[in-house]
């Protein structure tokens, strides 16, 4: 299992229901191990399997849900 991490910076979030929406969507996505939304920082941290999905694909899915991504930072799994 290749553990890979990516942090997506979104525009500021305002509704707490967004957290559940985004997290649920990501966790359901094939290849994603875990996802957490930092509500107040407007960030999404995802740990996923690089063999099954890429950060660019994750970005597309987040944007498709209605949350434009500003920047993406990638790194091998540390935390």
């Amino acid at each position: 299992m290749m553990d890979h991490q990516a942090t997506f910076q979104l525009q500021p979030l305002s509704c707490p229901s967004c957290i559940q929406k985004i997290e649920k969507m990501l966790v359901r996505t094939h290849g994603v191990h875990s996802a957490s939304v930092l509500f107040h920082a407007g960030k999404v941290k995802v740990s996923f399997d690089l063999l099954q999905i890429t950060a660019a694909e994750l970005r597309k899915r987040i944007e498709k849900l209605g949350y434009p991504v500003q920047t993406v930072r990638e790194g091998a799994g540390s935390a």
């Binding site: 305002s14 707490p16 930092l38 107040h40 899915r61 849900l65 434009p68």
Partner: protein
């Protein structure tokens, strides 16, 4: 297209609002058709972004509040309630906008911090000066810092001198002069001067970046209340759906069922507690205090007993060797050289004092020691240049069977009564000399303790591995209720457990590795920012500014935050309960319900916003009734 609509949200909200006002005018002019047209147009305009989000979520097979509202609107239009549909959509958008505006205020403290992060840097590469983005600096590269600029990486000054203001990191704004060999940290402001530094940590590895990340995570770390609310929300949402269905089956009124669904959304309940802790944590961060989450905030507010480590917490932790006594066999500088070489391996304050003393005298250290063994809370042993060195306190000498003569003990006790810590040094199992080390009390300690007492803390206790006489002097000077000396790290932790068993809520403040067990045993652990990483990682609260005076500030802020959370939860529960009863009684309709619902969300966020500006000086002026300025055992100590 979708982005365009999202970016036009504000204009759409404004447009639908003015159409509703126009409809209101037509209502009085008795132009029914015009009124209906206006209202329908308003509904349509405002429902575009709502329906859009509903569809986006539905496509991913996720339910959303937008979907509920969209269903409610369609329902309202079908039954001809145009007023209702227009006002509900308008309020939904307006509420979202206002929430966003106010929430960003509660987040402002952290945002300011993030914005003070350095962006660009001038580096010297291949003999030329280049401007690069701060995260593109390579570790080991030479970076130029000028007055007015920001330090772009963590590193050491290798040329020049400058004054640095570390406000972003510690909340302390007075600039500090630094020169060759001094450490500088990313995010600090160069007040004036010119210097060149070697970058060591860059980008996300700098202390500044790590601190921001920790604060971001702290703001998300949920308090027990928040976790409870989360669990509550998990069954609450399906429960309301089921209940709404029940209402429909019972009353056959689709309208009432939908109203029930929309209004029952636990908006204020979900956002109330987190908004307060975010504002509180942000405010604390600006004052140089890192509080790791809402739960830590809660426990800090409840603490009634404060326990302090002595060295590095109540004192400056920069002890100095004031005197070296040697027995005939060895020369003073030679003993200092041996001791300093061994103590290089130690992280202990006293060990560092010995190393510093050697550096000050310009003594070259010997070859690295072998078989280093650190006895926590006792001292250190190592093999060096074919000699066995044992450096530490009395206990270590006893366990290692180093004989201490009557005259040595009398001398040591005399030095200790004068406020020194005495460190014994033995070579090959025989005592070779004594180091007298003194460590001054922090200047802000008395005021900080007084302030905590005024805020209602009942008991102050000091724990130290140091000798009894030294501890006694510090305790007497600061007017502590109790002190316990000559403790091992596990003794400190055991003592904390004992206090907890007595029903006290214990805060433990420390700075060293040896304090870490006690810090984690306490109900709430605090670490000094100048201390070791272990202490800072273990603690729930870090005084980044490394000043004790920020402790009472954090304490009163934590209390204010907990009060604020309670107010918000009460407000939210009362509102939802009143609304649901009103709906079931048939006195509240969708638009009014929506209005009250959105208003309650705004109210809790506004209430939380007060915390972002909370300043200790305006509040808590009167001392709580139970504080008694009683004279304690300290008097007894003074007479000794």
């Amino acid at each position: 297209m979708i982005r365009w609509i999202d970016s036009k949200r504000r204009s759409l909200t404004g447009l639908s609002g003015s159409l509703i006002l126009a409809a209101f005018a037509f209502h009085f002019a008795d132009l029914k058709i015009w009124q209906a047209t206006m209202l329908l147009t308003a509904t349509l305009i405002a429902s575009v972004p709502i329906a859009l989000h509903a569809v986006q979520a539905a496509r991913m097979r996720l339910p959303s509040i937008e979907l509920l509202v969209t269903i409610a609107i369609i329902g309202a239009i079908i039954i001809g309630e145009y007023w209702e549909s227009a006002i509900v959509t308008f309020l939904f958008l307006l509420g979202e906008y206002l929430e966003f505006r106010t929430l960003s205020k509660t987040r402002s403290a952290l945002k300011e911090l993030i914005e003070s992060a350095p962006l660009e840097a001038d580096v010297i590469r291949d003999g030329g000066i280049f401007t690069v983005a701060a995260e593109d600096i390579r570790s080991g590269e030479r970076v130029i810092v000028r007055s007015g600029g920001k330090v772009p990486a963590d590193g050491t000054i290798v040329f020049g001198r400058a004054d640095f203001a570390e406000a972003a990191l510690t909340g302390e704004s007075t600039p500090v002069g630094k020169t060759v060999g001094d450490q500088v940290l990313s995010g600090t402001l160069v007040d004036n001067g010119y210097a060149e530094m070697l970058a060591e940590q860059v980008g996300a590895d700098t202390l500044f970046a790590k601190m921001i990340e920790r604060i971001e995570e702290a703001q998300e770390a949920k308090s027990k209340t928040a976790k409870l609310l989360d669990r509550f929300a998990r069954f609450y949402t399906p429960a309301t759906v089921a209940f709404a269905l029940l209402v429909y089956v019972w009353t056959r009124e689709l309208h009432m069922a939908i109203t029930f669904l929309v209004v029952a959304c636990p908006g204020a309940l979900v956002i109330g507690a987190p908004a307060s802790s975010v504002a509180g944590i942000g405010n604390a961060a600006q004052k140089g205090v890192l509080i790791k989450g809402g739960d830590a905030m809660n426990r800090l507010a409840q603490a009634d007993t404060f326990v302090f480590d002595k060295t590095g917490t109540l004192t400056l932790g920069k002890p100095e060797v004031t005197m070296i006594e040697t027995l005939e066999r060895i020369d003073q500088n030679e003993l200092l050289r041996l001791a300093a070489t061994v103590e290089i391996a130690s992280e202990h304050h006293l060990g560092r004092a010995i190393v510093r003393a050697a550096e000050k005298r310009g003594i070259e250290k010997g070859s690295p020691p072998a078989n280093v063994h650190i006895h926590k809370g006792l001292g250190i042993q190592a093999h060096i240049e074919d000699r066995q060195l044992t450096i530490g306190n009395r206990k270590l000498m006893q366990t290692e069977l180093v004989a201490l003569s009557e005259s040595v003990l009398t001398y040591a006790e005399k030095r200790e009564r004068e406020g020194h810590t005495v460190v014994f040094a033995a070579v090959d199992g025989r005592l070779a000399g004594l180091f007298s080390i003194a460590d001054p009390i922090r200047g802000d300690a008395p005021a900080a303790l007084d302030e905590l007492k005024r805020l209602g803390v009942r008991k102050f206790i000091m724990l130290t591995g140091d000798h009894r006489h030294t501890a006694e002097r510090v305790a007497a000077r600061l007017g502590l209720d109790e002190f316990h000396a000559e403790l091992l790290p596990e003794d400190k932790a055991a003592f904390i457990e004992k206090l907890k068993a007595q029903g006290r809520i214990v805060a433990m403040a420390g700075d060293g590795i040896n304090d870490a067990p006690a810090i984690s045993a306490a109900n709430i652990g605090l670490a000094m920012g100048g201390g070791t990483n272990t202490a800072m990682e273990t603690a729930d609260v870090v005084l980044l500014a490394d000043r004790l005076e920020s402790l009472p500030r954090a304490y009163s802020l934590a209390r204010a935050t907990v009060r604020n959370i309670r107010q918000n939860i009460t407000l939210a529960i009362v509102t939802v309960a009143a609304l649901l009863i009103g709906i079931l009684a048939g006195t509240i309709h969708l638009a009014a319900g929506m209005f009250v619902h959105e208003a309650s969300v705004l109210l809790v966020v506004l209430n939380a916003m007060r915390l972002a500006r909370y300043d200790r000086k305006n509040k808590d002026k009167r001392p709580p009734a139970h504080v008694q300025w009683k004279k304690t055992e300290v008097d007894v100590v003074k007479e000794m």
